[in-house]
């Protein structure tokens, strides 16, 4: 099972990934990524959600955006994917202003899975995944061999090949989410933006989906951006965490630097203790709540940027 192999920190793969992560975050400079936002102001009608925000998505890494409800995470993601046009400022993709690029061209470089996509009634898994090919298709280029291969690869990567001829309506939540990710993969983009892919899933399926994201990042070098609610999972899977509150980035960097008790209080207004995750050695947030008092613990020992041996 995939789930298990990732969990054990003493196994080579996990070891490698953690070490890898430590190195990359140290020389992670801002303003270098293929996808970045420069001083964007994002608003729906007159309602400003985000004002003057700059952000660079590190290439080939997993970036997780966290923050309380309605802090502008999804809005930011929509702007990064060209779904929302900034009132001022720009989003840059490969050195070009994303709004100058044709929609179809953007869709060939960057895939977005929105929070609540709608599966047409009665559609088969394979047909839904095939819709991911539309940016590559033309009127008389409806189903080329490369389309077929891409859908094949997407189904394989998400282990949904067995479900190919099933109806999407019949699937469990976790399976359905895998299918949606497969659709986004079929787009064959190096950049993947997933808006809350784990919401409504039970814990096992959450891990399942996140393992899949990590696998896509590791094995296929895709840049992944996730919006997540669970801080502990965010810490575990992210190379780079962006913590937002009220449309402002409060902290950004490797999980160990960003997820501290002060930052969590700052961002979420939640008192907590941050301890070491015994499995992945990433920060683990333990909320205190009103019925308990903060325990007297030694400050968490964690060497940022060093591989955990």
């Amino acid at each position: 099972m995939k789930r298990k192999s990732r969990a054990g920190s003493d196994e080579p793969p996990a070891e490698l990934s953690t070490g890898d992560r430590g190195q990359c975050t140290t020389h992670l400079a801002m303003g270098e990524g293929r996808l970045r936002a420069e001083e964007v102001r994002l608003a729906y009608d007159d309602h400003v959600i985000i004002d003057s925000l700059s952000l660079s998505i590190p290439d080939g890494k997993i970036t997780v955006i966290v923050g309380p409800n309605a802090c502008g995470k999804s809005t930011l993601l929509r702007a990064l994917a060209r779904l929302l046009r900034p009132t001022t400022g720009t989003v840059i993709l490969d050195g070009e202003q994303i709004h100058r690029l044709p929609t179809k061209e953007v869709a060939r470089r960057l895939g977005l899975l929105p929070q609540t996509p709608i599966a047409p009634e009665g559609i088969l898994v394979v047909d839904l995944v095939a819709r991911g090919r539309t940016p590559h298709q033309k009127l008389f280029q409806q189903w080329s061999e490369s389309d077929e291969r891409a859908v094949h690869a997407a189904l394989d990567a998400t282990s949904t090949m067995d479900l190919a001829d099933r109806q999407v309506d019949e699937l469990s939540g976790g399976q359905r989410q895998r299918v949606w990710i497969a659709m986004t993969l079929a787009q064959e983009t190096d950049l993947l933006l997933l808006d809350e892919p784990t919401t409504f899933l039970d814990i096992a399926h959450q891990i399942d989906v996140l393992d899949l994201c990590e696998q896509l990042n590791h094995e296929q070098q895709r840049t992944v951006v996730l919006v997540l609610h669970d801080l502990n999972l965010a810490c575990r899977y992210a190379d780079h965490i962006v913590a937002m509150r009220d449309g402002v980035i409060v902290a950004a960097g490797p999980p160990a630097e960003v997820i501290t008790a002060e930052n969590v209080r700052d961002v979420f207004g939640l008192d907590c203790v941050v301890i070491d995750d015994p499995v992945s050695h990433t920060p683990l947030v333990v909320p205190i709540g009103s019925r308990h008092e903060a325990p007297n613990l030694a400050p968490r020992q964690m060497d940022v940027g060093e591989p955990h041996a």
């Binding site: 793969p13 009608d45 929609t103 996509p117 709608i118 047409p120 819709r131 077929e148 189904l155 296929q220």
Partner: protein
């Protein structure tokens, strides 16, 4: 899972050079050459073929019956180009145009309904329920009452009225985008207001105009001539191909606006295009035959069920619409012959129970 250290990074260029191990069970047949590939749905083709056959059968039947019955064999002979003297006038001038208009109008309503129902994501979003047909009717009645109304003028009035009604409904339903239930409710409300305006106009008009307008208002194919055939044929020739091409947009919009945009669709432009073509098709039908109710409403869902497709079926809906109107007109002429009922009454008899059933179901499931 294989160890990550053992699994070298997959080079996607290599992946795309190897042939896929097995054929994917995607819907439809693929025809592929070096330069192009087309995906067709055999089931949709079969449905359209069967519907064409049925339309032909009912069309010939409709031509053969009447005050002056003509045997089917003679109908076929006449249609194939060797008429007798009687049949040439009765078929060529009276009955054939009527059947052709029925087919064309049905196709236009069917496509329009399929487009709007898919856009609104609700079968209740069909143009005859949300006031667009009423708007087109108002435009036509204004032309009849105030201008005099040649068939071209009536047609222009209908198309203008349809668009004004559509703009009105969309503006009133707009609240950071258009939600299905708002559109349906606002549309039904606007429909009533427009009907009231029509009634008002009719009370003020000359009695001869009133008669013309009243027959036309229930949706009638009585006395259709080659003028209307030309109008409908020309309209369908322009709008039909556009509607068929726009199927690709609808397929993406089905996934939700954000997902459609993420797949490279310019959502607002696509929606605007679909609305324009949909309204134009509905107005075309109204211009030629009056606001025949429930054709647009039933054609889409029937087509979808027949083709068994998860997406909107614009083309099959056109065939279903055509068959519905041809059959309804035949029934309208024959049920209490020799009195001919307007075709709109027959389609209402078919459509109203379906509407009631749908309302009950949606109220129960909370879809509306």
């Amino acid at each position: 899972m294989t160890l990550l250290t053992d699994a070298p990074p997959i080079d996607r260029a290599v992946v795309t050079d190897t042939p896929p191990p097995a054929r994917l069970p995607i819907r439809g047949r693929v025809f592929r050459t070096r330069f192009f590939s087309v995906r067709v749905d055999p089931r949709a083709l079969a449905v359209c073929g069967i519907l064409t056959a049925l339309i032909t059968v009912f069309g010939c039947w409709a031509i053969s019956v009447g005050d002056f019955p003509i045997p089917i064999s003679e109908v076929i002979k006449t249609l194939l180009g060797s008429p007798t003297e009687d049949s040439e006038f009765i078929i060529g001038t009276l009955r054939l145009p009527r059947v052709l208009v029925a087919i064309g109008v049905g196709a236009a309503f069917g496509m329009s309904g399929a487009i709007f129902q898919a856009l609104v994501r609700n079968p209740l979003g069909s143009p005859d329920l949300i006031g667009f047909n009423s708007g087109a009717a108002l435009g036509a009645v204004v032309m009849i009452v105030y201008v005099g109304g040649s068939s071209t003028q009536v047609a222009m009035g209908a198309i203008g009225g349809g668009f004004v009604a559509a703009i009105l409904v969309f503006l009133l339903a707009w609240k950071r985008g258009v939600k299905a239930y708002r559109l349906v409710l606002v549309g039904i409300g606007c429909g009533f207001a427009i009907e009231a305006a029509i009634d008002f106009l009719i009370t003020r008009a000359k009695i001869t105009d009133v008669q013309r307008a009243a027959v036309w208002m229930t949706g009638s194919l009585n006395g259709r001539s080659w003028d209307q055939v030309r109008l409908v044929a020309f309209g369908l020739l322009v709008l039909g191909p556009l509607a068929v091409l726009m199927q690709r947009w609808l397929d993406r919009l089905d996934l939700g606006d954000d997902a459609a945009a993420a797949l490279g669709l310019n959502v607002s432009r696509a929606k605007l295009g679909l609305v324009i073509v949909g309204v134009a098709l509905a107005a075309l039908g109204v211009a030629a035959a009056g606001p025949i109710v429930f054709v647009a409403f039933v054609a889409g869902p029937i087509a979808r069920r027949l083709v068994h497709s998860p997406s909107a079926c614009i083309v099959p809906a056109a065939f279903v619409g055509a068959l519905v109107v041809v059959v309804a007109d035949l029934a309208a002429r024959r049920v209490i012959a020799p009195t001919e009922l307007p075709v709109g009454i027959m389609t209402a008899i078919i459509g109203a129970p379906y509407l009631l059933w749908l309302l009950m179901r949606q109220a129960r499931t909370g879809a509306l």
